[in-house]
Symmetry: C2
Subunit: 192 residues, 2 copies
């Protein structure tokens, strides 16, 4: 997606070997117009797969999931939670995920009644790196007998194994931009 | 807002004396169409105040902030973070807030460069109870020399002190629905 690629190249920052800092438009400050166009593009790519729920994980996945769900005709969004709440359901689907960003293990959880058995789920997230969050969401969908029709990603780190692992599982995975490397603080994007 | 009131009364659940459980449409599963209409209504109430940034706090405030920002002409959204990240800025505005939902103290933080001095900030959140999150966001805006032009809330717990305290400070605060009490598991809404 050309506009996202331009935003990454002009506003993003490469740090070290593997960190893509885009918090000026994607995960701290949100460029609202761009987020909507990203959601529309993901919707275009997955409309044929007829999802009826968009699943993401808090917090920074919520914006892209919501704009994608809007473009798919106001589908409901479900976001998995990273922390227990006082009033949470007793009937939860849960999965362990290691957060690359925060360098710690989280449990993500969803109230099972919000992923009814048989639902066609589109997983959406802002970033894909080692794929832990997506694998966790796949586990949630397995526990609730939902069908995952695809995974839509904002920015994939192509030099990390998450994308390849998911594609090797036969999952339809589509990323709006793929970072192939970070070299001397410069973000290098894959073609296409 | 009539549609939100209906959603609260038909889908919401009152628990104990003070818990309003609306996670089937507002903060775990999102009713996408409703969220957009809520955002449009907040935008209608605050357009005259000419905000140029919408500020919220992760995670469940993000959806309403984004739909409101969309309706205000694609304003940027900034969401305060509850946890430190590996790549965060050294130049942060920070404030302590006690989470009523999670029964613990959090520090919320914003990279100062995303709240430029002189910005006109509209604070948006899904819930207002004791007002800790809003007070924390006011503190962030004070540290960054931003002007808070108003606070837009999805659901206010009118029996908690947060709303009164903010109004007593002279802040323009508008809530789309106000819960006046919970009686035997039934949610009672204030008029209007």
């Amino acid at each position: 997606m050309k506009e996202l690629r331009n935003a990454i190249l002009t506003q993003g920052q490469g740090i070290g070997m593997d960190i893509v800092k885009v918090d000026m438009f994607l995960n701290h400050r949100l460029d609202t117009g761009l987020l909507f166009r990203m959601g529309e593009e993901l919707a275009r790519r997955f409309r044929e797969d007829k999802p009826d729920i968009v699943l993401t994980v808090e917090a920074s996945g919520i914006a892209l999931a919501l704009t994608c769900a809007r473009a798919l005709g106001d589908l409901p969004v479900v976001f998995a939670k990273k922390s227990a709440t006082v009033v949470q359901s007793a009937d939860l689907a849960q999965a362990k995920v290691y957060s690359f960003t925060h360098k710690r293990e989280n449990v993500i959880r969803v109230d099972k009644k919000y992923l009814p058995a048989g639902s066609r789920v589109l997983i959406v997230d802002d970033f894909l790196a080692d794929g832990q969050a997506c694998q966790g969401m796949l586990a949630l969908c397995a526990q609730t007998d939902c069908k995952v029709v695809g995974i839509g990603i904002g920015i994939e780190k192509g030099f990390m194994p998450g994308g390849k692992n998911l594609r090797d599982m036969g999952i339809k995975l589509s990323s709006l931009a793929v970072v192939s490397a970070i070299e001397d603080g410069k973000i290098i994007l894959a073609d296409g």
